[in-house]
Amino acid sequence: MEKTYKRDFSTWREVPIGGIIPWPGTTAEVETHAWRAYRPVINQDKCIRCRLCWVYCPDAAILEVDEEYTTPSGRKYNISYRVDLAHCKGCGICAYECPVKAIEMIPEER
């Protein structure tokens, strides 16, 4: 069905019948970064990889990546957390819920 309907329709005749949306998960293309007034910045050295920011993010904007990281004090982690700045709306839940306060909300400058 995804092949039957083309996405760039110019008239109503090309709109899928019934107004169905045959393209799953396509809101990922929408960038919601303009909603943001504050940007979360993760301090990778302070972060203890507890996963709470990832779990509590409403926009799936905290990404869990398989990336090794060794802190200056010698602690080695197999995963890292990154911020998906295209989708982060800047709600600040991650910074508020972080148990070690490794996430800081800094004002967004445009």
Binding site: I21, W35, P58
Partner: protein, 317 residues
Amino acid sequence: MGVNKPIKVLWDIPREERFAPGHSMCQGCGAAITMRHLAKIMDKNTIIAMGTGCVEVTTTLFPRTSWRNPWIHLAFENTAAVASGVEAALKALSRKKIIDDSRRIKVVAIAGDGGTFDIGLQSLSGMLERRHNVMYVVYDNEAYMNTGIQRSSATPYGAWTTTTPIGTKLRGKPQPKKDIITIALAHGIPYIATANIAYPVDMVEKFRKAYEVDGPSLVHVYSPCTPGWRIRNEHTIEVARLAVQTGVWVQLEIIEGEPRVTIKVPRRKHVRHYLRIQGRFRHLTDSDIETIQKMVDEYVEKINKWVGEEAIGPVVE
């Protein structure tokens, strides 16, 4: 696909995102967290029947959708009715060998509190009574947030909404919240649970159990709404956690009529901690708060008596 083993720790929650970001739900929306975790436990064949509400209008703005499952848009009143129809059709197709009868396709109905407590109550009751194999999820943000914060029967006592304004005659909603769990219990369905976004492991485990059960199941999820409750964006989880810690919300799980409190609170906080953080309760005087505290005390006593142990303890601090 889906989750086959019990969720016991945070690391058991699957990493794969089946609910796409980029939806237009508010900053710090509680319902978005609910939907993200609900989508994680679903199989890719699961059919979602979604009643009108915040999540419905914000995730499927044409020509895009956040869902990666077959999804059907419904009006407020017929969420459970259409979910029952889809389930009955799947059963018929399976009987006629049109689809392989070893394939297990679950139907998940999702609706907000307006579409469940008020408008969709009769179709929900019909679905539960006919024992359709449907998992019903209510995300409860305690008013009609999508249309502009009108009161619903899920709005708690004393809360400000645009239709229960604060003045000399009326000071917030004069009636208490409707108890949907007891209504569902009266139908004798196999699985009923209340979940809360502040306790994600418990919430995902309840979703999983409700998904696995054969027969109707209802999960009532507490999902704070930042503009409607007049809270700061980052306080979403804090408010949800305080609701459990003060005893306003009790994490219940009722399997075959046997109740159990999954998150026990040995030392309960005073309800003012929960009320003072929210702008919708800003007008409450100290005597109003004591009235609400008495209502919470009665509710907690009822729950403790029902589960047969002191699951929610006395008020300290």
